[in-house]
């Protein structure tokens, strides 16, 4: 079963996203801050990461930078979740290396479509 890690500090969003992704057959784990997200990634590499930009302890960009520097994680597909569709956030993420974008508020259907696109098979 393909695995998705959601790094997002808003518990209600985690709950609804987990619900829909599990219904699609994915195995879902969650982390509520940047540090525990990295720990989780290094412990068990998921098939795709949904990463919120505003995370406590270590923000989304920092997490993304560390992922791209880590040989074990460098090719991990990452979907960045931004609260503002601001060009600046997108540019920064693209510079570091991102696989997909979602802006809040999002449609569940779009998230599922992105995840499906990035997980092969």
């Amino acid at each position: 079963m393909a695995r998705v890690l959601i790094a997002e500090d808003e518990p209600h969003i985690v709950e609804s996203l987990s619900f829909v992704l599990e219904r699609e057959g994915y195995d879902v784990a969650a982390a509520a801050d940047g540090e525990s997200a990295l720990a989780s990634l290094r412990g068990a590499r998921p098939d795709v990461l949904i990463l919120d930009v505003m995370l406590p302890k270590l923000n989304g960009f920092e997490v993304l930078k560390q992922i791209r520097r880590d040989p074990a994680l460098v090719s991990l597909p990452v979907i960045v979740l931004t609260a503002k569709g601001q060009a600046r956030d997108r540019r920064m993420a693209e510079e570091i290396g991102v696989s997909g974008f979602m802006t809040k508020p999002f449609s569940n259907r779009d998230v599922i479509a992105e995840v499906r696109r990035l997980i092969p098979g």
Binding site: E10, H12, I13, E15, S16, F19, V20, K104, P105, N108
Partner: protein
């Protein structure tokens, strides 16, 4: 540049009276060709000839001395230097003609220019605020987060037919909870925008107060008299002591003075309700004493002397300008209280305007002495006429009192070569220079960067630069010119007023292209 710019006024008046040049010249006892030079602003006139001119043309003498026109011309030149007008290639000499012929239209133009600049500043401030206000950024993020949660949960309820009742209830609760949070944020935003209608502070009051002080030649005889009366009331004899002022404030106004050791604010604050003046304990003595003197000035005779001085002018068009002018006059009265006119003038002359000596003699600060020097304008008993500028470390002129022929830019920075800027490189030391303008005017500039106390060691130093200026003609009366070669052939520093307005093409220090094509 000629010293008077009244030629057009004379010519117009002559024509209105139906006089030929030959006729007027004959009445004045000069040749028609000389009169022609005067009317073309190629020769200046003064003294008896000026008086006769005024009498013959039936104009008031003050209307012919040109100081007001020069100020107007300076303002018009700054207006002409606006980048938005660059493609018009305005002829700078047209400003003199325009101001001479149509002073009211010129004033109307200046007023509009100021109002336009005010709008521009307000717009910039507001858009900066929207972009950078942390509250707004957070509020928007919060709204998007709440809506994301609501949308995601409601989509589930809408599309998942076989959802378990327990799950159904769960998502309904999430929607309810997030809706409540969204309500809070939305209400906070609405309240924020209601408050935001308070508006921005216009910059024009600063200029109106500058104009007001200039109109009065920075000298207020009524306030000098009030200062003398106040000294008598307070029983001040000789150098004023802090304790005398404290005692007087308590006795005459029921004011209690207290010291705040580390209030976080280093400035004094007067609370009207409790009639308490809080002085920063860490402030230097001269600053504390001035704060006491200012309060005494503000309360003297219920503030009537200052209000009367304000009412006498039509230049203060807004409450903001009046408030600012009122504070300036409180400081004026306080300075007159601490440094009485005749004593101060006599001491200044004796010491050849040695500012440090005067500061010690009157136990005042360097800045207070400089400001007082610029008020020594009593007709018949005046000191050397000084102009004054106060410059912050970013280069901005925060205070300006110009001399009639010294062009001080109204907005922003001045020429980087001025001693006022060089002074920052050697805080505490007096920097002097003979500054030569493209018009041929030469001035003695003397400047010092003074250090104000900062609230704590970990914060940056607070320096401001105070620059005094006087026509080089008076420089020999001033100790700071000793050793400088004041003759007209001596080397000087070639300066302008600021890069945008300056016509010097070959200056290595030019920072901005000139707008005016000379």
């Amino acid at each position: 540049m000629p010293r008077t710019l009244i030629g057009a006024k004379i010519r117009d008046r002559r024509r209105t009276l139906g006089l030929t040049q030959a006729r007027l010249a004959a009445t004045l006892g000069i040749s028609p060709s000389y009169l022609n030079l005067i009317e073309s602003n190629k020769r200046s006139i003064g003294g008896r000839l000026l008086k006769r001119m005024a009498e013959t043309l039936e104009i008031a003498l003050e209307d012919l001395d040109g100081a007001a026109e020069r100020r107007l011309i300076g303002d018009l030149e700054e207006l002409a230097a606006e980048p938005m007008l660059a493609d018009l290639h305005l002829d700078p000499s047209g400003a003199a003609d325009f101001a001479g012929r149509h002073p009211d239209w010129a004033r109307a133009l200046i007023r509009l220019h100021r109002a336009w600049r005010d709008r521009g500043e307000a717009v910039n401030a507001l858009s900066d605020r929207l972009n950078q206000d942390p509250f707004l950024g957070d509020a928007v993020r919060s709204v998007l987060g709440r809506v994301a949660a609501i949308r995601s949960s409601s989509e589930i309820l809408e599309t998942v037919d076989d959802i378990e009742p327990r799950q159904h209830q769960r998502f309904v609760s999430i929607i309810a909870a997030e809706s409540r949070r969204l309500t809070d944020v939305a209400q906070a935003l609405a309240a924020y925008f209601d408050r935001a209608h308070v508006g921005t502070r216009p910059i024009t009051p600063v200029e109106e107060v500058d104009d007001f002080l200039f109109e009065r030649n920075n000298h207020f005889p009524a306030l000098e008299q009030a200062a003398a009366a106040l000294r008598a009331d307070a029983g001040i004899d000789g150098v004023c002591r802090e304790s005398t002022l404290v005692e007087y404030l308590g006795r005459a106004h029921g004011v209690r003075v207290s010291a705040a050791p580390e209030s976080g604010r280093h400035e004094d604050a007067f609370d009207l309700a409790s009639r308490t003046l809080v002085l920063a304990d860490t402030a230097p003595r001269a600053t504390r004493r001035f704060a006491l003197a200012r309060l005494a000035a503000a309360l003297f005779r219920e503030g009537r002397p200052v209000e009367e001085a304000l009412a006498a002018s039509s230049l203060l068009s807004s409450e903001a300008a009046r408030r600012r002018a009122r504070r300036a006059l409180w400081s004026y009265l306080a300075a007159a209280l601490l440094m009485p006119y005749e004593e101060f003038l006599a001491a200044a002359r004796r010491a050849r305007y040695d500012i440090d000596y005067l500061a010690q003699r009157f136990e005042a600060s360097y800045e207070q002495v400089c400001h007082r020097l610029v008020t020594l304008r009593r007709p018949g008993a005046s000191g050397v006429p000084f102009g004054l500028m106060r410059i912050d470390p970013a280069g901005f002129l925060t205070k300006r009192f110009p001399l009639p022929h010294l062009p001080l830019p109204r907005h922003g920075n001045a020429c980087p070569l001025w001693a006022g800027y060089e002074a920052f490189q050697t805080p505490g030391a007096t920097v002097r220079q003979i500054a030569a303008f493209p018009t041929g005017e030469r001035f003695l500039f003397l400047a010092r960067a003074i250090e104000k106390t900062r609230p704590s060691f970990t914060l940056p130093r607070r320096l401001i630069s105070i620059m005094l200026a006087c026509d080089v003609l008076h420089a020999d009366q001033i100790v700071y010119a000793d050793g400088l070669n004041l003759s007209s052939s001596a080397p000087t520093t070639p300066v302008g007023s600021n890069c945008r307005l300056c016509v010097r093409r070959d200056c290595d220090y030019r920072e901005e292209d000139p707008i005016i094509d000379a």
